[in-house]
Symmetry: C2
Subunit: 244 residues, 2 copies
DNA sequence: GTGCCGAAATTGGTTGGACCATTGGACCAT
DNA sequence: ATGGTCCAATGGTCCAACCAATTTCGGCAC
């Protein structure tokens, strides 16, 4: 007999029910990201559930990054939420050695290239203008702050991921980014880390603006290649330092 | 002055502290997935916090899929966990199932191609033999069970990811895979789903065995393309059914 | 009237204690 | 050996407070 034909029954699911109700509430109320959710006490009363149960449910949402709680202020929606949303936890083992950093770059190489290509395919004129804006901001920051433009750099890339139409790109690459920068504020002591990648931001943009997927892909690959080179140079430098 | 050099003090972070302590405990205790965590009551006592606080912390871990709670039994570790691990929830906000599935395939397309290329570069003769073995098993299963070989299919791919030398490939693609098969035993009612991809498993293997990265990449892309086609065909079929 | 300050109300965070529902093992009867 | 019963352990829920951060608002100085 097929064991799957007799699944275990689900007897208790209070907090799940709370989340379901809350998702519906957000939908019917037309709540946008940034909006404020009802008080925990009010939710408990309305849903006929203890405040503790409400809190456990909200804790789940907070863990998923859907909601932000501010003590003394309230609970705020951080992302669009609908009842039929999919959540999947991804756990990544990361180390802080050279190999691990290189591995995050291998993932980024694959994803950045694909995202850039998709972006070049799908970008509207408005999208291109927005990316151009982010590029200008980033280039300006780079020139005035002598290469320290990681924040603006990241926003430029985010704009590309967004236009790609696939939120997974941003989420996964952000995870790689986090793994990469976890331990290194100035990776491996290479002062001008990231300088070499600078010109490729504009070339990527140009290929996107020209709706040239293959070109955008190639330029993205070149950009990652410079970062990999920087990383290798940093390691070489470290080994040299070890010998002295 | 760099604002990041002076992070705001964390006056209240009880549950985060609990999770940190718990992660250390799992490490020092050498707890493996499947193992049982201490009772909530015991944790509360040991950590000098209320049981509710312990519960909120565990709820977070449960949401991340790190832990499973069984009423009347205990709390069990579901995945390896160490303090320097990155856990992040992937959120696929896509009302429309088709869109979501297509998005998981876009990620897979990028990663499968890269993994296959890296595998072709780095595979030793022993690696190639192992992949060949998995391929034979999968092909045999496919023929004897008339196309139902998803388990063996997956193992073949896993062997490739493993040889790529980068564990991140398997971790991320596994998440995409999970997302893809979340609802569907037989996706969209397309009976022969996956049949079209069958021949490309062997061509991928051949390119890997020939240490031909670009060839392996191309064949991997073709494989994903067939899956995308199947998906589109399934949707077309659904729309047709709606009209009747 | 304007602007500042402090008290009070609001809200999430934590605590301790109680009870319920489920589980799993010990023990017993057949 | 099988099945039934009881009981202790454990997660799930509830309640009633209190703490800590934030916001609100009224009164005071100017």
């Amino acid at each position: 007999m097929d064991q799957r034909s007799l699944p275990p029954i689900q007897t208790t699911a209070r907090d799940d029910a709370v989340l379901k109700a809350l998702a519906e509430f957000v939908g019917t109320e037309g709540l946008k990201p940034g909006g404020r959710l009802p008080t925990e006490r009010i939710l408990a009363e309305r849903l006929r559930v203890s405040r503790n149960t409400v809190r456990e449910a909200l804790t789940r949402w907070e863990g998923l990054g859907l909601v932000e709680r501010r003590q003394g202020s309230g609970t705020y929606l951080k992302a669009a939420v609908s009842p039929d949303m999919l959540h999947l936890p991804l756990t990544l083992a990361g180390g802080n050695d050279f190999t691990s950093l290189m591995q995050t770059l291998e993932i980024r190489r694959a994803l950045e290239a694909e995202a850039a290509a998709l972006c070049a395919e799908r970008a509207s004129e408005a999208d291109i203008a927005e990316i151009a804006r982010k590029l200008d901001i980033m280039e300006h920051a780079f020139r005035t702050r002598d290469g320290m433009s990681s924040e603006e750099d990241w926003e430029f890339h985010q704009a590309i991921y967004k236009v790609s139409g696939n939120p997974l790109f941003e989420q996964i690459i952000a995870a790689m980014y986090e793994l990469f920068h976890r331990f290194w504020e100035h990776p491996l002591g290479v002062r001008d880390f990231g300088h070499a990648s600078f010109p490729y931001h504009r070339t990527i943009y140009e290929r996107i603006a020209a709706h040239d997927p293959q070109g955008a892909r190639d330029e993205a690959l070149k950009l990652i290649a410079t970062v990999e080179d920087d990383l290798k140079r940093g390691v070489a430098k470290l080994k040299l330092a070890d010998l002295t």
